[in-house]
Symmetry: C2
C-alpha cells in the first residue's frame, strides 16, 4: 500500500470511527450472530494475491461488524466496562504508527520514562503511598501472577527460582476473589489445593478472623503461608476486603500482601472513596486497571510495588544480546514482568489523564456512582425486586423476587428475565451467583452512559418482568 492510499484510508477510517463512537447506541449491544456464523462467511484459505483495502474494509463492515458486541455502547452494563475514549483512541493511533517496542530503555527512552512518570501520576491521583513504583501490565491476571511469583520468591529467600518449588506454600484470598488468583496459583506452581478461600461476611468481604485462623492452622500443620490477596471491589459484587485488618495479619505472619483493585481502584481518584485504601502502607503490591473505568483502551493494568528490587529480582534476565551501556542508570521494564517485548502503552494513559485532567476523571467516577445509587433506589423501592449486595461503586446486584417462591424457582425466573432483557438489544447485563442465588449484575461505568440510559435499562427490566415473571 503506498503512502497516499494509507492517507486516504486513514481519513476514511477516522470518519468511520467518529461515526461509530457517535452512533454506537444504534447497534444491538450484544452481537446476534450464531456460533460459527462469522467464520462461515469468510474464506478458509489465505488469498494468494494482494487485495485492496477498500475490499478488506467492506468485509470489515459487512462481516466483522455484525459479530461485534459493543463494549462502548451506553447500554453496556455487563461484566465491568472496558472504556475507550477519544483521547485514548488518538494515542493508540500514534502508538501504532510509531511501532515502538519498548523492552528496554534504549529501544525507546521516551516509552520507559513516560511509563515511569505516568504511573507516578496514577499513584498521586489514587492516593497510593509515596514510594510505590509502578509499571504497566496487560491485565490484572498477569499482575496477580507477578505478585504470586514475588511472594513465592520472598517466602523461599529467592530459592524457588533457582532450585524449583521444593515445599508447599499456601495462599489466602476470599471466596469472592477473582478467578485469576486461582489461575495464578496454578501457573506459579503452588497448586490449587494450597489456595485457601476464606469466608466472607454478610457484605461479601473477607473476615479477618477467618484468615488468621486459616494461617494458624496451616502453620500448625507445618505448611508455609506465603501470600494473601485482598480484593477491593470483587467481581461478583464489588465487596471491599478490610485492607487494614488484612494487612496487619499479613505483616504479623510475614506474608506478601497483594491487593486486587482491578475495577474499583479508579474510584480512588475521588477522596470520598479513599477509605478503601485505608491501610495501604502495608501492601506489597497493588493493581488496578485504567482499561476498565479510567477511559484508557484495553489493555492497560497499573501494577504498583513497594519494593521494585524484589520484583526485578524475581524476573530479571541478562542475556548478552540485551545488554546496553546505560543499564545501571535506567529502568529496563523487561525485568518488571513476564514478557520481554512491550508496547508503548504509557502514551495513551498520558493522553487520557491530560485530556480529562484530575477534575474530569473525578467527575466521571462521581456521575457513575450517582447513577448506580439512583438505580439502587429504584430496585429498593420496587415491590417485586430485591437488592442482593451493597453498592459502594457502580455495580448493583439484584433479582426479581415477589417473596413467594423458593430460591430455586427464583433462579429460573431471574435467568429467564435476564435473557429477555438482553434480547432487547438495548442493554446488556450479566449475572453472578451470590450465596447460591442467581444474581443480576447492573454496572454503570461506560463512558457514554447517561441518566437516560440507566432509566431505559430499568424500564426494559420492568417490562421484561411484567411479561415473563409469574403473576401472583
Amino acid at each position: 500500500m503506498d503512502n497516499e492510499t494509507f492517507r486516504r484510508c486513514g481519513h476514511e477510517f477516522v470518519e468511520w470511527i467518529a461515526d461509530y463512537l457517535r452512533d454506537v447506541e444504534s447497534y444491538p449491544v450484544v452481537s446476534r450472530v450464531k456460533p460459527g456464523e462469522v467464520k462461515s462467511r469468510l474464506p478458509g484459505a489465505p488469498p494468494e494475491a494482494a487485495e485492496s483495502m477498500d475490499r478488506i474494509f467492506a468485509d470489515f463492515r459487512e462481516v466483522i461488524l455484525p459479530g461485534i458486541s459493543h463494549w462502548q455502547h451506553p447500554g453496556w452494563h455487563a461484566y465491568f466496562p472496558a472504556n475507550n475514549s477519544p483521547a485514548s483512541v488518538l494515542a493508540e493511533m500514534l502508538t501504532a504508527g510509531l511501532g515502538v517496542q519498548g523492552m528496554i530503555w534504549q529501544t525507546s527512552p521516551a516509552a520507559s520514562e513516560l511509563e515511569d512518570l505516568v504511573l507516578d501520576w496514577l499513584r498521586q491521583l489514587t492516593g497510593l503511598p509515596a514510594g510505590f513504583a509502578g509499571t504497566i501490565q496487560d491485565t490484572a491476571s498477569t499482575a496477580a501472577l507477578c505478585a504470586l511469583i514475588s511472594a513465592r520468591e520472598k517466602a523461599t529467600g529467592f530459592e524457588s527460582n533457582e532450585r524449583g518449588f521444593r515445599r508447599p506454600l499456601t495462599v489466602y484470598a476470599s471466596g469472592e476473589a477473582h478467578s485469576s488468583i486461582e489461575k495464578g496459583v496454578k501457573i506459579a506452581g503452588y497448586g490449587r489445593e494450597n489456595l485457601r478461600l476464606i469466608k466472607t461476611d454478610a457484605n461479601f468481604a473477607l473476615i479477618p478472623a477467618e484468615l488468621e485462623a486459616a494461617i494458624a492452622a496451616d502453620k500448625a500443620a507445618g505448611l508455609m503461608p506465603a501470600c494473601v490477596v485482598a480484593t477491593l471491589g470483587t467481581t461478583s459484587s464489588t465487596a471491599v476486603d478490610p485492607l487494614r485488618a488484612v494487612g496487619e495479619i499479613a505483616a504479623r505472619h510475614g506474608l506478601w500482601l497483594h491487593v486486587d483493585a482491578a475495577y474499583a481502584g479508579t474510584a480512588a481518584v475521588c477522596p470520598e472513596n479513599r477509605w478503601i485504601l485505608d491501610g495501604a502502607e502495608r501492601m506489597d503490591s497493588f493493581v488496578f486497571n485504567p482499561h476498565k473505568w479510567m477511559l484508557t483502551n484495553f489493555d492497560c493494568s497499573a501494577y504498583f510495588v513497594k519494593d521494585p528490587g524484589a520484583l526485578v529480582r524475581s524476573f530479571e534476565i541478562h542475556p548478552e544480546y540485551l545488554k546496553t551501556g546505560v543499564d545501571p542508570y535506567v529502568k529496563n521494564y523487561r525485568d518488571w514482568g513476564i514478557q520481554l517485548g512491550r508496547r508503548f502503552r504509557a502514551l495513551k494513559l498520558w493522553f487520557v489523564i491530560r485530556s480529562y485532567g484530575a477534575e474530569g476523571l473525578r467527575a466521571f467516577v462521581r456521575e457513575h456512582q450517582r447513577l448506580a445509587a439512583l438505580f439502587r433506589g429504584w430496585v429498593e423501592a420496587a415491590p417485586d425486586f430485591e437488592l442482593l449486595a451493597p453498592v459502594p461503586f457502580g455495580l448493583v446486584c439484584f433479582r426479581w423476587n415477589d417473596g413467594r417462591r423458593s430460591d430455586e424457582e427464583l433462579d429460573g425466573i431471574n435467568k429467564a428475565l435476564l435473557e429477555k432483557v438482553n434480547a432487547s438489544g438495548k442493554v446488556f447485563l450479566t449475572h453472578t451467583v451470590l450465596r447460591g442465588r442467581f444474581t443480576i449484575r447492573m454496572v454503570v461505568g461506560q463512558r457514554t452512559t447517561e441518566e437516560r440510559h440507566v432509566r431505559t435499562a430499568w424500564e426494559v427490566i420492568l417490562s421484561a418482568a411484567r411479561e415473563s415473571a409469574p403473576r401472583s
Copy 2:
C-alpha cells in the same frame, strides 16, 4: 473531547503518521537523549484541569519524539525487527475505535472466530501440519511459559495444577535458546537448576546426542524429564536446531516438544525455507511472531498446539460470572493462555495477510534474504572482516579481524567499532557473544529496508573501521 474535535485531531494524526512513515529515514535511528532527559522535561504531577489535544500533541512532537528509537527506520538492523505496515496501522485504528475486549466468544464473536480463522491461515501459509490449532499470545515469552506449563501438567498427569510442584522436573534447550526459556522455567516453578543447556555444534545448533545423554543422565539420577525446547532461528545467530532428530528423542522419552521460531517462523511462508520445519509433526507446541517479520504491529505472537485440550485443561477457569449459554459450542480463548482479557488482535493479522497476499509476504521475506546474502558476501570478501555464523535468514554475524590480534583485543576493537557505527545515526546494529567472541549482528528485516540502505550500512561500517580500527 467532542466528536468534531476527535475527527479534526484524527485527520491531523493520520497526516502525521503518513508523513512519519514516509520520512522516518530522516531521523537518527536511535534516540540521542540521555537517561532522565525525557522525564525531566515533563511535569511531575498530573494536571488538575483538562488540557487541549493540540497542546498534548505539541508535547508529543517536542518532548516524546526525540526520545523515540525508530524501529520503522530502514536503517534498523538491531535485535530483530518489529515491523508495522500501513495495513496493520489501519487495523489498529479500528481495533482501538471498537474497544472490544474479546475474553470470551460472547463478548465479540467476530474476535474469537476471526482469530480461529486467521491462525489457520497462518498455519497454511507456513506449512504447519494439519490439525494444529492456533491462538494469539502477546509475546513468544508468554507462549514459552504456556508450553512449559502444559509440559509440567502433562508430565504430572495434570496434578501440579491441583497439588503444586511436588518433584523436580527437568527441561532441555540449547545453550543458544532465548532468555525467555530460562525465565519461563523459573516462573513455572521448575527452578533454573533444572534447565539443562545442551551443547551446540559449530553452527550453534543443538547436538541431538548431547540432548539424549542429558536426558539419560537425569533419568538415571531419578529426575523426571518433562520438556525440550527446540529453537528455529536463535536470537544470537539464527541457528536452527535439528527438529526431526530432537523430535524423535522427545517422542522416545515422552517429553513435551516446544518449538520457538519467534523470528524465523515467518521465513516458512517460502517453500524453500520449509526445511526448518522438517519433523514438525512431532511438535506439541510452536510459536512464531508475526510482529517481528510479518508486518503486523507488536504485539502478536502466533502460538500453535497439537492438542488444544491439553492447553485448555492447563489454563481453564469457570467462575460463574463468565459462564454463557453457548460455552459448549464455541472457543473461549480466555482458557488458551494466562490473561483473561484479550485485545482484538486477529483484525490486524487479517488486514496484513489480505493486504499483502501470500505472494506479497513471500516476496518480502525473499528480498530480505537476498539482501542479507549480499551483505554476507561483502563481509566474506573484505580482508579485515570475518563472518562468525551461517546466514540462513536475514541476520549476518561478523566482526572486524585483521588476523593479527587476540580475541580479547578484538572484543574491544569491535565494541568501539559498533559504538562508532551507531553514533552515525544512520543505522542501528546490536551485538551478541558467540563462542566467547564479541559479535556484531546486522539484521535485514525492516519493511522499508532496500538495497541502498544495506549498502549504506556497509559503507558506515567500513568508514568507522578505517577511522577507529588499529592500523597494521
